[in-house]
Amino acid sequence: MGNGKLEIKVCMGTGGIAAGGYEVCTAFASALGENGIPAELQMGCSLHRVGCRGLCARDVLVDVIIDGQKVTYQYIKPEMVRRIVDEHIAGGNPVADWLVSEDYHDFHKKQIKVVLSDCGNIDPESIDSYLFAGGYKATEKVFSTMSPEEVINEIKRSGLRGRGGAGFPTGVKWEICRKVESDRKYIICNADEGDPGAFMDRSIIEGNPHSVLEGMLIGAYAIGAAGGYVYIRAEYPLAVERLRIAIKDAKDRGFLGQNLFNKGVDFDIKIKLGAGAFVCGEETALIASIEGQRGMPRAKPPFPVYKGLWGKPTVINNVETLANIPHIINRGADWFSSLGTEKSKGTKVFALTGKVRNSGLIEVPMGITLREIIYDIGGGIENNRALKAVQTGGPSGGCIPADMLDIRVDFESLAQVGSIVGSGGMIVLDEDDCMVNVTKYFLQFTQAESCGKCVPCRIGTKRLLEILERITKGLGREGDIELLQTLGNDVKASSLCGLGQTAPNPVLSAVKYFRHEYEAHIHGKCPALVCRELLTYHIGEEFCKGCGACFKVCPAGAITGEKKKPHRITSDKCIKCGSCFDVCKFKAVVKECI
C-alpha cells in the first residue's frame, strides 16, 4: 500500500468471537507487524474490534478499508489473514475468492439501520470512537437547550413504543413518572433478554453500549431520576464487560456523576446481574430481583411508575427503546415518525434465525412484510426446503403459516393473527420441523420458568405440557386438541403476569393453523419425522458402503457390521439419538414413522 489510510474492522460480537474473531485479530496484528505496518491505533492505520454487523452466519467478517475504499471479507479464519495482508493490503489486489458474495449486499438492501447504525462501525470499548461518530451530542442538546417537558413531548410526538414486547408508548410512560412527586426516582434498563432465540439487546449492548447509556441519561433527565440500573443477564458476559467499560468511561468524561453539565443534575448507573430467570423480564419481578428477592411478579396496579424500585417511582425501558432515544433527539420526532406505519413508528430490530439462509440481526422499518424479511433479506430457506411457518415473539408469541407471508410486521397486524412482535425473535421453520414438537418446546420453557406464584400459570402450563408430551409420544386422545384450547384460554385469562397470560399463545396459534399435524400425532404419526417416540431408524443395505462412520458415532452400541459390508441397527438397543443419520454421507440411514 502507499501512504493511504488503512482501517481494518474485525467483527467481535459473540458470534464473531465464537467463529474465531480474537484469533483473526491477533493474526492481523502479527501479519501487519511483519510487514512493517503498525497494528496499534496509530496515525494512518488502525485495527478495530467492532460489534455485530448482523450477518453472524458469515463470521468472521472483516472490513478492510484503504483510503475510504471498503472491501468486506467473509468466513475469515486466522490462517487466511496472511494472504489478505500480502495480496490486498501490501499488494493492492483484494483476494477475490474470499470477498462477500452478492447476497451479502442484498441482506442489507431493505434494512434501515437506526439503532444498529453504528454497530459494526465503532469500537464498542472506546468512548472516543462513539464520540467521533456523534455520540453524546443528543445529551448535550437535551441538557443545554431542552426542558424535561420538551424532551417528553418530543418522544411522545415521535410515536416511539416500547420494544420489549408490550409496545407501550415510551413518552407517555415518562410523562406519568415525571408527574409523580417523590424525593427519588429510578430509571431501569431492562436487558434481561430471556426469550430463547432473541439476541437483539445483547448485540446492541455489545456493539454500541454508550447509545443505551445515553438513552438512559436523557430519560433520567426527563423524569427526574437520580439512580439508574441496567438489569442484564449473567449469560451475556461480553455485553456485561463492555457495559462496565462504557459506564466507567462515561463517568471519567463527566457524562455520569454529579452536577452534570453544571445543571445540578446527578445521575449514576449501576449494573445488576440477573441470575437466570425468564420471569424477571416482567417489570415487577425485575424490581424484586434488583432488590435481592426471588423474582416474582406482583399484582398491578400500582404500576412501577408510581411505586417501583424500593417503593419509588420507576421507569423501566427496554435496551432497544433506549437506544432509539439519542437518534430521536438528534434527528427529530418528525423524522422518526416518518418511518413505519400509522400506529407503529420507527424501525424494529429482529433476530432472524432458524432455517433461513442469511440468519442474523436485522433492522427493518415497521410495516415491512414477512415475505420481504424472509426472502429479500434472509435470502430464502436453507437447503431449498419449503417454508412452513415463522414463529415470532418466542414463547409468548405465535406462529404464522407460510400462506400468510404478506402480513405486515407491526404491533397491530401480528396481534390480529394471534402472534406478537414481542422482543423481536423471529424463527423460521421449514417442512422438516414438527409444529407439535416446537410447541412442546415452548411449553417446556414457560412451564419451567413459571415462578409458581399464581395457580393458573403454575398448574395450567404443567397440564398443557403434559397433554403435548403425550401427543408427541403417540399417546394422544381424541378431544386433546379441544382440551388444549379450553385450558389455554383459561390460563391466558386468569394468570397474574405476562408470562402466564401469553404462555398458551404458541399452542393456540399452532392448533389454529396446523391442526392437521396435531391430529396426525394423535393417530400415531409425526409427518415431519421429528418426534422420537414415533420414529424408527434402519440402514438401507443398498446404499451402505460399510464405512463405519455410524458405528463409531453410535453412543448406544446399537450398530453392528463388518468393514465395507452393510451395517445394521439393532432396534431394541437404539436410543433414536439420530447421530448415525447425521453422520452418514451416503444417506443410507433412513428414519421413518413406526
Binding site: A18, G197, E235, L273, G276, A351, G354, S359, V438, D582
Partner: protein, 158 residues
C-alpha cells in the same frame, strides 16, 4: 473458607444488601454454593437460611452441589432446538452415561442446558469448558468428550 467469605460479606453492604449478589460471588469463588458458606452468612447477617434457599433455588444460575471438572453446556434456545440440539444432548448423555442434566460419578463431567446464549446464527451451539462451538454435530460432541477423557487418562499414567 472463612477468609473468602469475609471478603464477600464486605461487598454485601456496599451492594445495598443484596442476597443475589452475595450468592453470585460465593458461587464465583467456589464453583457452587456450599451449605457451610450459607450457614455462615445466615449467622453473621441474621437472615434465615430459608431465605437463602428460596433465592438460590429460584434462579437457575445457582448450583447447590459441586460440579464436574469439565463443563458441557448445551444451548437449547429455539434456533438451536430446531437445528437439533436435543439430539446433541441425548447423544452426550448416552456417551457420559448419565440420565438427566447431571454430573458423572467420577466428577469429571457436568452436562447442563441453558436457555439461550444468543448466538443463534451459528446454531446449534455447545460450550465445552468456556469455548464456544458453533454448528455443532453429534460426532463432534462425542469426539470432544472422548478427547477430554483421554487427556485425563494420559495425566493419570504420567
Amino acid at each position: 473458607m472463612e477468609d473468602i467469605l469475609k471478603e464477600i460479606i464486605k461487598n454485601y453492604w456496599e451492594e445495598e444488601g443484596n442476597v443475589i449478589s452475595l450468592l453470585q460471588e460465593t458461587q464465583y469463588a467456589f464453583g457452587y454454593i456450599p451449605l457451610e458458606a450459607v450457614q455462615w452468612f445466615s449467622e453473621k447477617l441474621g437472615i434465615p437460611l430459608s431465605r437463602f434457599y428460596g433465592v438460590a433455588t429460584f434462579y437457575s444460575q445457582f448450583h447447590l452441589n459441586p460440579r464436574g471438572k469439565n463443563i458441557l453446556t448445551a444451548c437449547s434456545g429455539t434456533a438451536c432446538h430446531v437445528k437439533g440440539s436435543e439430539r446433541l444432548i441425548n447423544c452426550a448423555k448416552a456417551e457420559l452415561e448419565i440420565i438427566g442434566e447431571d454430573t458423572t460419578p467420577d466428577m469429571e463431567f457436568t452436562l447442563e442446558k441453558v436457555n439461550c446464549l444468543g448466538a443463534c446464527s451459528i446454531a446449534p451451539v455447545f460450550i465445552i469448558n468456556k469455548k464456544v462451538y458453533g454448528k455443532m454435530t453429534s460426532d463432534k460432541v462425542i469426539k470432544e468428550i472422548r478427547a477430554l477423557r483421554n487427556t485425563k487418562d494420559g495425566e493419570r499414567q504420567a
